[in-house]
Amino acid sequence: MSEIEAGSVGFRRLAIVAAAALVAVAACGGNTTGGSTSKPPPTANIKPPTSVGAGEGQLNLIAWEGYVDTSWTKPFTAKTGCKVSPKYAGTSDEMFTLMADGGGGQWDMVSASGNASIRLIYAGDVKPMNPDLIPDWPNFQTYFKAPPYNTISGIHYGISLQWGPNVLLYNTKKFPTAPTSWSVIYDKGLSGLITAYGDPMTIADAALYLAKAKPDLGIKDPYELTQKQFDAAIALLKEQKPLIKKYWGGAADEIALFQNGDVMVGAAWPYQTIQLKLAKAPVADTIPSEGATGWGDTWMLATKAPHPNCAYLWTQWVSTPVVQAEQALYFGETPVNTKACAQMEVQSPGSCAQYHADAPGSYFDTIKFWKTPIADCGNGSLTCVPYEKWQSAWTEITG
């Protein structure tokens, strides 16, 4: 056949192959693995620096509310010349999204909790840090030197910061004695007076409650849930929804809700209790009998951080005993630096014991730290519900 015909036949063949490929690709599309932790983190081979250079004059941080207070950023800026610009996020998902693409060349560090840190590591958005550059690191509690949520295969993807529990906050006028069970936030008699954290991690709180309330479900770890356990938690939250006045998305939301008498009880961070008490609101918090979920935070360095020296200087600063104590008292959390306990006693006697700053390692085992739910149940089975199902279930509950 002539060249033209051959050419057109060739073209048609190519078109058919291309179409078939497209169809195949489309058919394969939509398959989610539920956790790509099988490959090593993309930034594992980035060698952290061995010394800290001069500050670049600017530091852009993504942080939880209350983590970048002027009482410790002002002396930091005076000492290092690094001007601190914080962006506050209310949930781990928000932080994860802001850190997309290694921080986009905009952000230097993020104070990630355990349920964001693993995702950040495997997405390549954070890079390894050198703990030898942090003089206070040897004084950290052993568990927090290399916790599983920021250290993988011996590589440190950040420096632990503080940790704390999710407490039950309540109005003391409505509850003269502290509630002893999380059941109070599912109580139909309190309709319209309850608030809850507007994040899929609330499912873990529900699972934690059901671990005691419905023991036949066999919930051991609130983040590793079989489909049956997961469905039970979702059902409970759907029952709770008509009782909720508003889901809080950040500390200030919840503070306003309690301050104005819109809600009487709900899960919270100790920060809200402290701020409300400062504003003379009649509130108190407690950890009910079922226990509590909690969070361990890490300052992580963005892969594309524009100001890495200021980042290291900042990490050094917030790891010192004085600043660890200040932050712990301001937020109501527990420092990782063992030397901070003495400082906390100086600033507020009795606080060291109150915030468990001197607790033994076994205490940490009683707190269910936030972590990203993945399909791997840890006991060999791969049937646990992964995080994307938590997110879509949460949309269903609140929608």
Partner: protein, 268 residues
């Protein structure tokens, strides 16, 4: 023409609407003096401390500066592009003119979150880092619409015969533009510019998606509201902005509101 009771009822209605419009603004003014940093009613006490604190707050300075820069750049670009577009659409009857008019309305007719997401996606796709210039690009896109609408509306009301007369008298294109057209549309250009500046200065949704670590004033305000520690500072800044803009707003109102052109043409 309207009867006494109609006018009375209308006056009551206007009064109620004005109250509706301004009570929140009055609250903003009052709560700039709030003693507590949590906003609750009734106000716990009054203090002047927030004024000093806001004045000295470097975050406020840089946010205001960035907003001014972005708004100026966006307005300047929008003036040029929007006026060009208005002239072209006014003069030209071409196939697809309706489509183009529709196109020029889209940035304001589509929700801001879509514009923001779309721009963010293309910056990300082309590897452009988010900065002041990406913010300006976002703002210019909807500012063009405002200038375009204002200038086009005025062009439609001007009499083409004036332009023709100038040409007959021997003025070249540039002279006609400078001496006849420009003065005729100047008020709409100024009004369009002011409206564009106002929109850009207060814009938060598109800006959220087109800014990186930069804070314009609305983004700073949103962060301060989320944080909840410095709400009175927000009120101080907003009160200040309102006071500073009363004069320009009155001027804009004179230029576009009671222009009287329409009434003259209606033969009152």
């Amino acid at each position: 023409m309207e009867g006494f009771w109609t006018r009375f009822a209308l006056r009551i209605w206007v009064g109620v609407i004005l109250l509706f419009l301004f009570i929140p603004i009055l609250l903003i003014f009052v709560y700039a003096f709030n003693q507590s940093n949590i906003e609750s009613w009734p106000i716990p006490g009054l203090t002047l401390k927030w004024f000093g604190q806001t004045w000295n707050d470097p975050e406020v300075h840089s946010a205001v500066l960035l907003s001014l820069q972005a708004a100026s750049a966006a307005t300047a670009l929008a003036l040029v592009l929007g006026s060009c577009a208005a002239f072209a659409i006014h003069r030209l009857a071409f196939f697809g003119r309706d489509v183009v008019s529709l196109l020029f309305v889209l940035p304001l007719a589509l929700p801001g979150i879509i514009t923001g997401m779309a721009l963010n996606a293309s910056f990300h796709f082309s590897g452009i880092t988010l900065s002041l210039w990406t913010i300006v690009v976002g703002h210019t896109t909807f500012c063009i619409v405002v200038v375009y609408n204002n200038v086009l509306a005025r062009l439609r009301r001007t009499q083409g015969s004036l332009i023709e007369a100038a040409a007959d008298l021997g003025a070249n294109g540039f002279q006609t533009f400078r001496d006849i057209t420009l003065p005729l549309i100047s008020t709409s250009v100024v009004a369009g510019a002011m409206l564009a500046f106002a929109l850009s200065f207060d814009e938060v949704i598109v800006t959220t998606f087109t800014s990186g670590a930069q804070n314009t004033l609305p983004i700073w305000i949103f962060g301060a509201i989320r944080l909840g520690q410095r709400l009175p500072e927000v009120n101080v800044v907003v009160s200040f902005v309102i006071l500073v803009t009363i004069i320009p707003v009155v001027i804009a109102a004179r230029l576009t509101g009671g222009s009287g052109v329409a009434r003259v043409q209606a033969g009152r």
